[in-house]
Symmetry: D2
Subunit: 358 residues, 4 copies
């Protein structure tokens, strides 16, 4: 259950404050040029300590590929991805050894396993997502060959929302903005929300939107392997994700069929396409050839930077004192993770559909 | 990809207007008493032709179990579930042989396979969900032994919403209401919406809410097998589902951490529990012991009962004339399917966690 | 665990004396012409009651395909295969209800499940293999498109062995011989062994050889998905199979490297091939382009037709009286099952390697 | 396809002469004491350079566990196993860059992937099995808690065989013998064979026998998950394995049913058991409670230490000159790998059957 995917399979391991985190990416096609700089650049989009929005933990997050690449190209053998935890501070967590923090996984892991690595959330830490970003960057190198692009961006923080059609979003410059919202005015208002929340020692949630552009029609599997079902599972596996919707999603659920149907038309080349894309690029779980658009809701980070109540394993209420090293808003750092998971899902679906060139 | 689940695995097959639909439920525990009447009663909750809300196709939907049951108890061998299609009318669909209806799977199946059974949607038809309901009813017999209950009910149709806390919902009487909304006033208003939409030859979407009650803490797997990730995939595999959220979901994404955290407390027996349940019963993907609460958004049915535009395979626009035999609102019939998929997901998770008694 | 395969997946269900046996074949490519007569002809090669060698149970074994085929071609949707048990005689087995027969699965199923369908072996009966033969015949229709042929034949019964090089075996006429040994003299001697054993109320084991011809180089997956590892699992899943070897197998294990290496050479078209084929067509788990040759050992049938000792569930020794309706030698009936499992393994491996044309 | 197992899943990666080899062992139960010395001791049984029998490559093979263990106990999180390749000599292999050695995987990997890491066999090297031995040693720590022991030993090298009943084999001292044959006289004769073959610059194959003792009845899954089918796949995934048999295997295939049946009896405690164990501890794929006994045939190593012919990628015949650093007989080093794979298969089967204590 630490493996994601069907043909392209990512298995991850490692704890937040252990010696290293490690992934094995299996099923990746042979012969793809592996650009280490591109992978490292993707890692940097996720790094904490950027702008005012994110936590102060500083990891170089240098990715090493220990197998599956030979003279710059993938060999078809499994690719080992490893990131050494250089900034691990396990001793910091000693006071939390027998403490269950609210809305963390401390209690549930203890209930499940009867033992847990309490240091920094252990296996439940978002540190694990660094491996997803690295794997997603590798998958992107394969998608590039097919002309498929996968984007993600911040579309809401607290009450500030970006509500523009996909065509009006500057998808190429997401990472120029510390909030990952590629719209200057909205980004500024989001920044203000984060600063205000941070000063209050609080945290705030938000929404990440995604778009997969350039996919041919016919990707995705009926019935239980619907493209958006796999995408939903991918997104909901990200720490703090609480909701997923495709196309018009929850809003469309309140509308009429005559409004929501996507009428067919012919494109400039005379091929069948749809006039609108309310469905978000899938019908019956299979892609239509239009952009796949989706949104993922993230709850606010549970670790506050002001004092907050917790409980010990034996049921004694305690107070966790204010500490500084945590995100006030996880959304900017979730953006590359959403992008990575969508990239992995897409390449896996193409491989499953045997649409990736051999 | 026509299989759902990990230990408990449901594989389904069959087309809407073929001779029969068939499922094999594998991994079901041995020794469970199989109550055929209870299974048939579950089927009846999904049957079309109930109240004014649903389509006029009338299938007896008599479930036959062809294997895996011996003298009234499960044997651990795979259970074959079969439903003969007694009301199939394949000839009705001859005019649609080369037609792509908007927001149906006609076009995408053709794109994927280069061939399709056009009759009534073939494999993409919601007819397949009858098997899910039957399998869910079988799974329920096992969950009953553990004191776990799974509920679903209509919480929104068009703009009419039921917005009460779980404790205030009459979960035991959902199926007494044709709308599957167990609140008389709200149900009446939903009925009115459906009638109005039906008279307009249109359709309307809505939301189904679910609750899994009685689960112990510790169910669900990190990292990619989070309980709510599997539940999301289960729900998004249902026809017309477009969104999934757990706990406070999208609404919680706009809130502060100090509001959304669920503080710990002790229950009457001195065991650790949470004061609130904003998380919807999971932390880090593992159950907390509180009710798992979730919501699923469904788009309006794409098949209108008034004339609507479509396109032929060679790109010629046509009009599909008004026909009568279709749902104006799919939500009431989606309720037992949501319940069934949540039941299957829950039993599978218990088996995976080795929490089901051997 | 009632599912075989990775991309092409066969799930079977049903008991020997239940109403029907049913399989769902998922992942089969779309657009393949489905020749029902060819499938039925394959079934007939497995039918009991042929010649003197096999049991007297007579089933028409009429295969019905209930889904996944539309107007004579596969649609890519799962194919339901069903065979009604017309000759079931459950009452015959009443005396065996609480009896464990030696070297049957009675005791082990009871130990595992605490309940079992005792009638004719229930789920453990070789009746299940009828579905494999039907599914294999469908898979063969796809392999035919790629010029790949899969053969099986009897190479040993008791002490009588056929020990000729593959080139000298008349693979096209296997089913003309009741023993499935396509060599008149050897077949006659095998027949004599079977008659002698039958008259003694005893049973006898043997070996089935297989050959997969026409596979390109490059099929099979490292490391745990080696072609011959998957083939071994396929073969060892057949009732009564006790051994598997590929190429020179056990005999080659006693030889020198200088004898067993297969030197390279060029074929008539200047392509690299091997001079010998001691490896049986695989190196490192991946096909070389030479014939894949293998052998499967089957123990003698455990059900004797003379009196034999058994034990009741409470530990009382009893004698099972002589009965007539059982095979003296299972090998002839195992031949089409070996062929079917090799066919399914091969098509699955081609699909996994993305070598099957989309 | 680089993953082994169902609930307990071992994924391996890494090439023979890359920086490191890495495995992730997922699904391992929480709370098991992890004895690093025991794991390292198991590694040492596989190390090359022992006695005269094995190759001269010298790796410390120091195992590092980078995750999943906390304060000496397993946490239920995936365990990362890593071994740094300290004795890698990639430059040694430069002359083989475009060469296909006979009966190696050079040609087939090139055919499959169009690219390969030629250094020391790359991914196809037996170096990968070091990870299996480490993982097997970890799995053994869990089996110890259930009183299950897994043994392997050399039973044949060339024409010298050890042919004693299991009871007469000194299973506790296998690793005291460089040949891994725990019978002094036979071991001495095997040693002589290896020396003779080595001096001739040749190699020789053999057979490894295994025994799983202490398993309860009821382990293994019908129909495609038979215990011995999974064991066969496990064994055939080992480099150079060419045959597998369980119980009387190929020899039993030539015998009569009246000879091969295992009559039931009662043990000292009045429980049902069998008088003989011709079946090798399984019936219908499920364990009987008797020892599971099996044998694995290995071909002679293909890398000779005298000159031998090969071919270049463009079809030119060449001669590979004599080199020293290779095994004359792989059997002694295969013993711990067979033991490890049997251990992993057994723990996985116990977990699948939910027989491992939670």
């Amino acid at each position: 259950m630490n493996t994601f995917g069907h043909i392209l399979r990512l298995t991850t391991a490692g704890e937040s404050h252990g010696p290293a985190i490690t992934a094995i990416l299996d099923g990746f096609p042979a012969g793809v040029a592996i650009d280490l700089d591109a992978i490292q650049a993707a890692m940097d989009t996720r790094r904490p300590g950027q702008g005012g929005a994110t936590s102060a933990r500083r990891e170089a997050d240098r990715v090493q590929l220990l197998s599956g690449v030979f003279e710059g190209r993938s060999t078809g053998a499994p690719i080992t991805i490893q990131i050494v935890n250089t900034d691990a501070r396990p001793a910091d967590y000693e006071p939390l050894r027998n403490v269950f923090r609210p809305s963390h996984a401390d209690f549930t892991y203890q209930a499940k396993y009867g033992i847990r690595d309490h240091r920094g959330g252990g296996r439940a830490s978002a540190r694990e997502t660094a491996l997803r970003v690295a794997a997603g960057a590798i998958a992107r190198l394969a998608l590039d060959k097919m002309g498929v692009q996968v984007y993600a961006y911040t579309s809401r923080i607290g009450s500030v929302a970006l509500d523009l059609p996909l065509e009006a979003i500057d998808l190429q410059h997401v990472y120029d903005y510390p909030t990952r919202c590629p719209h200057p005015d909205t980004a500024a208002r989001m920044d203000a929300v984060i600063q205000r929340v941070r000063q209050a020692g609080d945290t705030v949630g938000g929404i990440v939107s995604g778009a997969i552009v350039g996919l041919p029609a016919g990707v995705g599997e009926p019935v239980y392997g619907k493209f958006h079902a796999l995408l939903a599972a991918a997104m909901m596996s990200i720490n703090a994700a609480k909701g997923f919707e495709i196309g018009m999603g929850f809003e469309g659920a309140c509308r009429l069929g005559s409004e929501m149907n996507d009428p067919f038309t012919l494109d400039a080349d005379g091929r069948i396409t749809t006039l609108t894309n309310h469905s978000g690029g899938v019908q019956g779980g299979i892609t239509t050839g239009r952009a796949v658009t989706f949104r993922v809701a993230f709850k606010p980070v549970a670790t506050l930077t002001r004092d907050y109540p917790a409980i010990t394993a034996d049921g004694t209420p305690i107070t966790i004192p204010a500490r500084g090293r945590h995100d006030a808003c996880v959304i900017p750092r979730a953006v590359p993770v959403v992008q990575a998971m969508a990239t992995l899902t897409t390449l896996d679906a193409l491989l499953t559909a045997r649409l990736f060139p051999a």
